[in-house]
């Protein structure tokens, strides 16, 4: 059994604002990105346009139980449910399966800094560390930063009692989340799924992991595909959630369809040699089948040296495709980068900018993915 899968709900939030409108406008107009080069200097960051949290997370007690990436994700999942017309549909929410691509691991900076400073010059550090952690860690921080608790909070705040799964693994988690949700619906294992991810870029502890590997661009903004002299990724706070649904189910309830998600494929090249990403991604795009001329190519590329050029080469092989880098609009949103790119492609198809779209993604360290979408 291979059934059509359609996108019937889109939730998006980023530096550009929330919902489809500002993102569709930016897609159409090629608007200048909103980048803050001061607050986290030398790292430029696309900062989130502040959200009125009460609109999607009415209880302050819920808001307090989450770190900002969880709030951003829960908020955006709510936008997707609203967009799909499911917010008040208790029956559907009891069946709705959720896949979240999540990071996590936020720290209490003040506690960490005080402990690290205190540990300086100590020989026996264990007792001090235990005492300070027992005394200074907020008990609720653990849950507020735990990967699967974004899904848990979506369930609590929006009343979704279908099962959730959380994928981890940076960018590829976002690719595999969309791929798995699509495969489950296409094969008849599920009827409707909520899938997406959220990333909060405005944290030094999150920047740290990328900087350890030397993956961050320093200085000013430059477009993703124009960073040759100073390569690296520029992170952006963003979240994207999609409601995916079997075409029959969507038709039966008269749902608005933004686009059809035809196929999603993924692989992992070991990247031991130059050209490995191009070969892997090229093979994936070929697996998607023929692409009409003048398709839209939405890329979740990072801007990292080598692999970004290899991705560009694959996109250049598409017949007269118009290329858009999600990172130029939102910044790089790691786990949310691929879901956000799918959301942008669906918005563009819905707005009539093209009749087909290809979405590509190459993780900063591992993983390649691609998807094909068509106008509904």
């Amino acid at each position: 059994m291979k059934r059509d899968v359609v996108i019937t709900g889109i939730g998006l939030a980023s530096s550009l604002g929330e919902g489809l409108e500002p993102h569709a406008a930016a897609l159409a107009a090629g608007q200048a990105p909103i980048v803050d080069t001061e607050s986290f200097a030398p790292y430029p960051v696309h900062r989130l346009k502040p959200l009125e949290l009460d609109r999607q997370i009415p209880k302050k007690s819920d808001q307090r139980q989450m770190e900002p990436w969880q709030r951003l994700g829960v908020y955006t999942a709510g936008l997707a449910l609203d967009s799909a017309g499911l917010k008040e549909d208790a029956q559907t929410k009891s069946e709705l399966q959720v896949i979240v691509a999540a990071g996590g691991g936020e720290r209490d900076h003040a506690v960490d800094s005080a402990i690290l400073t205190g540990l300086r010059g100590m020989n026996e550090t264990g007792a001090f560390l235990n005492e300070r952690l027992m005394g200074d860690l907020r008990p609720t921080l653990f849950l507020a930063q735990l990967s699967n608790l974004l899904a848990g909070n979506i369930s609590i705040v929006h009343g979704i009692t279908g099962a959730s799964r959380t994928f981890m693994g940076e960018e590829q988690a976002g690719v595999d989340a969309i791929r798995t949700a699509h495969a489950r619906i296409a094969s008849g294992q599920a009827e409707i799924m909520l899938v997406g991810g959220a990333y909060n870029a405005e944290r030094r502890d999150m920047l740290l992991l990328f900087e350890l590997g030397g993956f961050l661009r320093h200085g000013d903004y430059a477009p993703v595909f124009g960073r040759h002299s100073n390569p690296g990724l520029i992170v952006g706070s963003a979240a994207a959630f999609l409601v995916l649904e079997s075409a029959e189910r969507a038709a039966a309830r008269g749902a608005k369809v933004f686009a059809r998600l035809d196929n999603v494929v993924a692989d992992r090249s070991p990247r031991r040699a130059a050209g490995a990403v191009e070969a892997s991604l090229g093979k994936l795009v070929a697996e998607l089948g023929p692409v009409a001329p003048f398709a839209l190519a939405v890329s979740a590329a990072t801007g990292i040296a080598g692999i970004t050029t290899e991705e560009a080469n694959v996109i250049a092989g598409l017949n007269q495709a118009r290329r858009i880098a999600t990172g130029d609009l939102l910044g790089h949103a790691v786990e949310a980068a691929f879901p956000a790119s799918i959301a942008l492609a669906a918005a563009a198809l819905d707005a009539g900018h093209a009749s087909e779209a290809i979405v590509t993604g190459v993780g900063h360290w591992r993983g390649e993915g691609a998807a094909h979408l068509s106008k509904a």
Binding site: N148, Q189, L208
Partner: protein, 426 residues
């Protein structure tokens, strides 16, 4: 060649390889011997200083490294050992070229204190995150990036075993191991792959991890004697004990396994999962999500409660879980619960967290194969509120063809698996 399908017309998912490591030892034989002898792997923590901690015991795996190590390194080592045992038993594929996908339950990772201290040593003045970033920008610590990526452990396992496609790193908290198996089942049923390597691993007992659970009052504080602290379903149960380990299963399309003459160890007959929107750490008081997850798993397997011979409990030894689980089982199995054996491996190995669903699935298949049910040890004070046959303290011989294995986790995760003996040759 004939084609076999389950009651719903789907490919049957066979198990052709099993591997396990816990605090009881490495490999199925060592674990089974200890489990059926009622021996505990829980002990006083020696890995890090325990000064000032309320809980000072755990089921850590201490026999794999001589040098200090991080949680992702131990998690990877545990997974490697369990997977080697499972893949070798299955005889599937060439060495380093496993012909199927990888589904891996891994603990969320983050930079740990020794590494943070190393970075702080690079800078002068306050050791704040701006300073740590300056240290990182020297690019002297590049190896830490790969070490602390969420996707790193699964990537290394994919490299080592040569699995196909994009490896999945997943978390559904304490039901993660069961979810990894469920995802393998689904992929085989879709016909996407004919084999899957499903692993749950957790080697994340370090000071901060323990303190986090301690601050949530989730852990037993009855430190003396250590081996008596985990006492699922007992009246005096007071929290779980952290454990480490890994379980690995080779899942395979039944016909594919038959065609190559593989020994079929059993089948994963059904899976059920439900979310719970009640609370971040507590289960719905009515047990509804757990009840529905068990019922879904039975329905998915095309079976009824009467077909189940044994329940491999989640049985964490927390006051709340065990009460909720007992009540939910009674709702599903009715009057049969008085005589249906239910035992918790966690009484001996502790709660292996991310790995638990996979480790306990391996033990469930061993229970079926050996016809012997591992006990719930430390059952000296029965809880009158939850009268169960917990197979108290001593292993029991029994004919077990079909098991339901429960896993429940923080964040409203409920996953149940129906695991069964191999079908009669057809």
């Amino acid at each position: 060649m004939s084609t076999h399908r389950d009651a719903k017309g789907r490919p049957i998912v066979a198990v052709t390889g099993l591997g396990v490591v816990t605090s009881l030892g490495q490999g199925k034989d060592a674990n089974w011997e200890a489990l059926t002898a009622g021996r505990s792997g829980i002990h006083r923590i020696e890995r890090f200083p325990i000064d000032g901690l309320r809980t000072t015991i755990a089921g850590t795996v201490d026999f794999l490294f001589d040098e200090p190590f991080t949680a992702p390194e131990l998690s990877e080592k545990l997974a490697t050992l369990a997977a080697e045992e499972a893949v070798t038993q299955s005889g599937l594929g060439e060495a380093g070229a496993f012909p199927g996908e990888l589904f891996m339950a891994v603990p969320p990772v983050e930079i740990e204190w020794p590494q943070r201290q190393e970075l702080a040593g690079e800078i002068e003045g306050d050791a704040d995150y701006d300073g740590l970033l300056r240290a990182a920008a020297t690019h002297k610590y590049k190896a830490m990036h790969e070490l602390f990526l969420f996707g790193g452990v699964a990537d290394h396992i994919a490299d080592r075993f040569g699995t196909k496609g994009s490896p999945i790193s997943l978390s559904t908290a304490c039901s993660s191991g069961a979810t990894a198996i469920q995802m393998g089942v689904e992929a085989i049923r879709r016909g996407e792959t004919q084999a899957a390597l499903c692993i749950g691993t957790d080697g994340s007992v370090h000071a901060e991890a323990l303190i986090r659970f301690s601050l949530l009052s989730a852990l037993s504080t009855q430190n003396e004697p250590a081996e008596a602290a985990a006492k699922p379903f007992s009246k005096n149960r007071d929290g779980f004990v952290m454990g480490e380990g890994a379980g690995a299963l080779v899942l395979e399309d039944y016909d594919h396994a038959l065609a190559r003459g593989a020994t079929i160890l059993g089948i994963v007959a059904g899976c059920g999962e439900r979310g719970d929107g009640f609370h971040r750490t507590r289960s719905s008081p009515d047990g509804k999500p757990a009840i529905l997850a068990m019922q879904d798993a039975l329905a998915d397997a095309g079976l009824t409660p009467a077909d189940i011979d044994y329940i491999n409990a989640h049985g964490t030894s927390t006051p709340e879980n065990d009460k909720m689980e007992a009540m939910s089982c009674t709702a599903v199995f009715g009057e049969r619960m008085a005589e249906l054996p239910i035992s918790s491996n966690k009484s001996m190995i502790g709660h292996t967290l991310t790995a638990a669903g996979a480790v306990e699935a391996v033990f469930s298949f061993l229970t079926i194969a050996k016809g012997r049910i591992p006990p719930t040890i430390n059952y000296t004070q029965p809880d009158a509120a939850i009268p169960l046959d917990v197979v108290p303290n001593v292993a029991r011989d029994a004919k077990v063809r079909t098991v339901i294995s429960n896993s429940f986790g923080f964040g409203g995760q409920n996953t149940c698996l129906v695991l069964a003996a191999a079908p009669e040759a057809a």
